[in-house]
């Protein structure tokens, strides 16, 4: 896809990890952006616009996700996802 690439490592901070509800929020956040958004955990890479994909990551608290956005709105997409993940998806976070 044309455009720029933005990449960053994000850490899952909420206690329950990336379960179904946070995954749904992440998809909702990613979907409006035109960019291709991929999330990688170790050697496992999935599309951030797919709930089932995110669930297969089984990303527990403390997991380091490599987020790669490519496209015309890559920077904005990455910032939106960063804000969501850093907020712990509005769930309880570990002190």
């Amino acid at each position: 896809m044309e455009g720029t690439t933005a990449e960053s490592e994000l850490i899952i901070v909420n206690t329950l990890g990336l379960h179904a509800r946070p995954a749904a929020k992440l998809v909702q956040t990613a979907l409006p952006f035109k960019s291709d958004i991929y999330i990688r955990l170790n050697s496992h890479r999935v599309n951030a616009k797919s709930i089932m994909g995110l669930l297969t990551l089984a990303a527990a608290q403390g997991s380091r996700l490599q987020v790669t956005c490519t496209g015309p709105d890559a920077e904005q997409a990455l910032e939106a996802i960063r804000a969501l993940v850093d907020s712990g998806f509005g769930e309880e976070t570990w002190k």
Binding site: L31, R40, S43, H44, R45, S50, I51, M52, G53, T56
Partner: protein, 322 residues
Amino acid sequence: MDTQNLPVNRKQSIPVARLLDRMSEELEFEVIGGYQGIGRPVLISDVNRPGLALSGYLDYFANDRVQILGNTEIHYMEQLSSALIQRRLENMFSFEIPAFVLSRDLRPRAIFLDMCNRMGIPVLRSRRSTDEVISRIIVFLAEEFSPETIVHGTALDCYGVGCLIVGAPGVGKSETALELVERGHRLVADDVVTLRRRREDNIYAETSPVIEHHMEIRGIGIIDVKSVYGVGRVRNSKRIGMVIELEEWNATAAYDRTGLIDEYVTVLGVKIPILLIPVRPGRNIAIIVEVAALNYRLKELGVHPAQQLNQRLMNLMSDEDA
């Protein structure tokens, strides 16, 4: 479909412990020596029978493979003098060897086991025949070392043809899959499809062990196809015969109107036929996928409808000329 930039996972090595763990049930392995070396890496998906190495010929010794000892090797070792076998084994063990596997519940010479224990080379023993042990280990290792990747798409068995449906998020892959399942076809995986290359030129789609046959349908949420439609509508793996790429209808794009030219996409180094299907409201994609699968089967049987029609037309025109 962008298949060039897929991250490919391929194991560089597996520990002997994994071979033991995964093959224990099939081959009834017991470890009879060299326990401490159980973490040794196996780097190559092949085995070797070290008969020539035991007889002293070590040029081209395939030391980096799992070494299989059958009747021949064990009985050959038995008739050597202690001093000679010690020297031969010492020479052999100067190479890095991942593990020994004995078949037929064979009992090796004490000196062999002593040396394996000292060097930390695991010795596994099975009750099965040598050819059985060899073929199963080779199949297992080939599977372990096969390259795999994950694609965002849906895989189904449609009339016996493995179809991989890909396309942008929201284009209707899951809905198409659901309708195909409803029509009696089988789901392999939705959203997250693991593709694995087997036997050089076959690509298999596999179900993810985490999500199995669950799928997400917008507006409903997560459903389990196996529970809703039954076990007859799912399967865990299927060889992919064709790729179907769904695309929002684009008035300016030139879609294939004749089917005379076969397009291919390369996945993990294997060429697979691909069809680009435009989607727009009112177009029943499931039926189009069904027809594509049946047409694929016809072509596999050597019948190419588009070419045949064209040939008939050309014959007709040349008759008129005459």
